[in-house]
Symmetry: C2
Subunit: 192 residues, 2 copies
């Protein structure tokens, strides 16, 4: 049991990993733990819009573990250009260390979910990735583009970076977002 | 889709509902969103210690929604005495309002998970409740009893309040915690 408790106290650190967007109405940056919770509920509630049947249990588990590597690497904004291969390598090393705190069977199970999400090839992983890409855009659409502006991110970079994965994993979600992003562009929500 | 997005933006507010314990190493209070995320992972990783087989998918979903009513009611420390019937009634009203933002089928599904957790009679709900009771104790055991001291909570009140549900839903977890709580008593981690 002490081994598992050690893991639970280690992942506690994800509450202190901050992202670039602020929760609506709060004057602080979002952390990756609360973000992961919201993604799970977003995936669950958007299930009727998945383009094909997905095993929601697998989606939820992927989203619960997908950011755990950031405990060692920190969060990197998805719009940062270059260095992604190294970053992903560092994250893999991180999750190996962190899941490695658990008994082998559990460690392998969680690592497999983390890798399925990263590879993004199963219907579940593609859907989960679409959710992960869409959520920060949804927050920015509702806070005047706070993190886009603070980080000088243009409309073209946002649309170019998130469109492919959202359209692939949940086309209906992209159809919802596309006109809203265009309107946000006209309203001056973007940087650069 | 706008209906579901409205729900996702409404539950955003759980990130601003603060609890009485501070995340380890951080000088702020924990919020109920990040707490819910950690409970899900705690339940998952302690599965080998469940006293009987539990459908983990159901446990995870219960823990993801169990605190959503606090968006309207706020968090109440489990050691507060009296007024629980009214509080639970208020929470039920709250989750009816919040899940009610969703299409009916989803609303009923989430409400059913919330109610199953509250009733605490199925093996899954009993296990989930044990996890919910144990997590803040685990944090207090690792931060010198911060929230017990700040709120003047005695060892007797902690043990008296959490023992029953933890022992019922996950006896091995209580066996782990009991000697640690006794040692914490000797070390002066409690208030009152």
């Amino acid at each position: 049991m002490q081994q598992v408790i050690g893991f639970i106290l280690e992942i506690e650190k994800l509450k202190g990993v901050t992202r670039k967007v602020k929760p609506l109405g709060l004057d602080r940056y979002e952390n990756s733990a609360e973000h992961s919770w919201q993604l799970a509920l977003m995936a669950w509630s958007l299930q009727p819009y998945a383009p094909q049947p997905v095993a929601m249990d697998r989606v939820l588990r992927m989203l619960l573990v997908h950011d755990i590597g950031e405990i060692d690497t920190g969060d990197t904004m998805v719009f940062v250009q270059g260095g992604w291969a190294e970053r992903k390598q560092d994250e893999l090393q991180a999750v190996r260390r962190i899941f490695g705190l658990l008994p082998a069977e559990l460690a392998e199970e969680m690592l497999a979910f983390w890798q399925e999400f990263e590879e993004g090839t199963t219907p579940e992983a593609r859907y989960a990735n679409a959710i992960d890409r869409a959520m920060p855009a949804l927050l920015n659409l509702n806070n005047g583009g706070q993190s886009w502006k603070e980080n000088g991110i243009s409309y073209e970079r946002v649309a170019g970076r998130i469109r492919g994965q959202i359209e692939d994993g949940c086309p209906a979600l992209w159809q919802y977002l596309e006109p809203k992003l265009a309107a946000a562009k006209d309203a001056g929500f973007f940087g650069a």
